[in-house]
Symmetry: D2
Subunit: 254 residues, 4 copies
């Protein structure tokens, strides 16, 4: 079953910066959506910050299996209410693919519990993303590494929790490294963070990058239906009698 | 160097429920502090919810290497400002030992990025905490397991991120299991979650339980001084010239 | 693409012990193979210890995507040569599902690098396997737990490396717990260890158990084709000249 | 309590290659031992391949808390018997710090369960080891990175199990990256793999490198005494009667 994907984009740089709109005339989201389709994922829609409810209505979220996220300069403009809804949907099983500067987005920071800070430089670095976990489905078809001729540098220390799985590590010309492909699970939701690409480079036209995003979306799609059920429970096995049953029933708080 | 420990307690049950005050006449925090001292940790102070700033002034936090946390019925009464300060101090290296119902405290939920929900039952279950990671310093001196004659049950699924290390798994009479000793790192701070004990059982008078809390505090104390440094960086190695330097200097946003 | 599965069984108990052959008249492998087919995996063959080359010829191994392993009393009768071939195939990407007493098999011990020892008791324990990782595909369709009316007990400490993922934890009537569903990656191969079932109980007729084995086989099937390439490499970026090039070319050892 | 450390060295290059003996006139082991002492670890002895029993008698091993390992061209000359003893001592709690080309040593490969293969190049690469886990005691006092002016390159994919903790990632001039500081636990033993240094570079005179080796030895020293106890066990809780007790007592195999 093909996952239903929503590509979310801030979509501001493209309207304000000619250097960006030259590369992504229809927006970063459109380029990513095209890349997903080219990789066999046909059920793709897009949503952007300045749409009503940021394009992420309850309805859209309910029908999204995997949300792909790109944001950069306007993280603060996302309402807390929508950020919280995204987090809740992830906990309930929606996959989340967070790209590049999305490391500072509200949903990602909220799901990580860390500052998500890092080093950066916008210059002429080459980026080479080495596969360190060749058995992982997200690395499928990638070869030994992906090379991007020019990209913004992100450097360690990247302040995230230890990822469940580390799939890519990046080399940059200027001397830095970065854990650039990381997976996490939060609740029933699978999260894939993937480092490229900055808006002033044509990274989302790069075949290898698009392939990894598609692999990530496939991996993050909800597969399991094991229920997450919580709360007060009767014992499954016999217990001794409770001498304090009366007291406890008064206490009755949680 | 002995770590400076602050034991924080909600300290409400003990004032309102005779069953609890009979067990902990001076409060849960006092029992835990005594246990830490009995295990060789002499630099221990306490703080409670109803003190000014919840007893967690900037000064107290700055002088705390490890914070031990017990809360249950009044998580909502902790101000967001203090919760945020605790989180920031953890990121900066303060250790955090979260006990029992502290799983629902603001700082722990904020650091985990999950709901932290679970199953529970207050009855007559016996709890047996099995060591599954005998090489870990937190398991030192514990034996194969710790047995607690009666405790509240906590059952899986426990909605936390996969812990960095799993040290204890609990068995309960009523048929449930629980990952009851878990470590996490967030920023430079080490976190140990330890499941026992509910306020209506004398768990914090149990020698094995107190030993584990002391082990946990020793483990969580900050040892490393590797800096976490972030932000814009000049390259460490020579880069090709940047044909877009002028454009980039205008864009200048982050 | 449906994975090509080989179910390997020692197939000795069934010939020597009436209690076992009553439960598995055609062998444990036949029961497991039937369970896999019932769960939609049609490409299943079997192999047993006393066949030539233990049924694991180069040809069979080369055409196996996932090997399911059951052994108990005759681990020592497996030749080192075949054990080594299995290990190599796992490194090259073959999935491996190790069941129950297979924890002491040569391939599993070799892949773990630990003793793989544990506690055990053959009696009347009930086993309840709790899902602790509900987002994992191996837990798909399982519910909150699987209950097996009677099984051999396996207890912690289970001497394995920390698993990549912990999916099930077992509760036993007699008071023990066990990490009963664990994943590992070795080379390009994915490994799933699943604790049930002892040969004297009808565990491989249990629908939930068979479902998990099928889920595990699906998960362990090789999906990635990222090459594992090793050895001496020319630089991808220019290096300064080597003043010791002559000496180095003599040294020439690795 | 200061750990008792044994530094083991192959000690062949130093006798056969003038380029090496110029750097390490008394052997690599002597340089490392001096570095450990300079970092406050006073209980340090050495052992080398060509001593009787490779210098690793039962007595020496029994009195070693942490074994530091350097080998390269003569891995095959280590007897299987001694390799197995080292593995067993690690399982029983001895710490192991494996350096550089020790990735291909018998004990390390045996403990990992993988090929431990990698890419390499002996040239003029600079190596920069970035701290990716600043809270870890092994990173203490290191700063943001360690820079080594010239070193052999090791590149991904490094065929090891996913490490328990990843502490350093290396950048190399020639365009590669490497997970250069990794921890593992096997049985009760803690293992630290640290990538530098090749015998033809003066890496073990580098202050930062020596500091990390000392930190690693401190971290790997056995701290826990939780027993690893295995075998047949009576139940801790009452079981129903066993209708098959007679049959089972006959079966009696494990």
């Amino acid at each position: 079953m093909t996952p239903r994907i929503t590509v979310w984009n801030e979509f501001r740089h493209e309207k304000e910066n000619r250097a960006v709109s030259d590369i992504y005339p229809d927006g970063i989201h459109t380029a990513i959506a095209a890349g997903l389709r080219a990789n066999g994922l046909q059920d793709v829609r897009t949503a952007t910050l300045d749409e009503p409810e940021h394009g992420l209505t309850d309805d859209v979220l309910a029908q999204t299996d995997v949300l792909v996220w790109w944001g950069h300069k306007a993280h603060g403009d996302l309402t807390d209410a929508v950020a919280e809804k995204v987090v809740q949907r992830v906990w309930d099983g929606m996959g989340l693919v967070v790209l590049h500067s999305g490391h500072f987005s509200k949903p990602f920071k909220r799901l990580m519990g860390t500052s998500c800070d890092l080093k950066w430089r916008e210059a002429t670095d080459k980026e080479r993303l080495w596969v360190v976990h060749p058995a992982h489905p997200i690395a499928q078809g990638v070869g030994e590494y992906i090379e991007i001729p020019a990209e913004e540098m992100y450097g360690e220390h990247f302040d995230i929790p230890a990822p469940d799985e580390l799939i890519f590590v990046s080399w940059f010309t200027g001397g830095e490294v970065f854990r650039s492909g990381c997976t996490f699970t939060r609740g029933s939701g699978k999260i894939f963070y993937f480092r490229p690409g900055h808006e002033t480079y044509p990274t989302y036209h790069h075949e290898g990058v698009l392939r990894v995003i598609a692999n990530g979306a496939r991996w993050a799609a909800p597969t399991a239906s094991a229920p997450r059920a919580f709360g007060n429970r009767a014992p499954l096995e016999p217990l001794p009698e409770d001498p304090h049953a009366a007291e406890r029933s008064q206490e009755g708080f949680r």
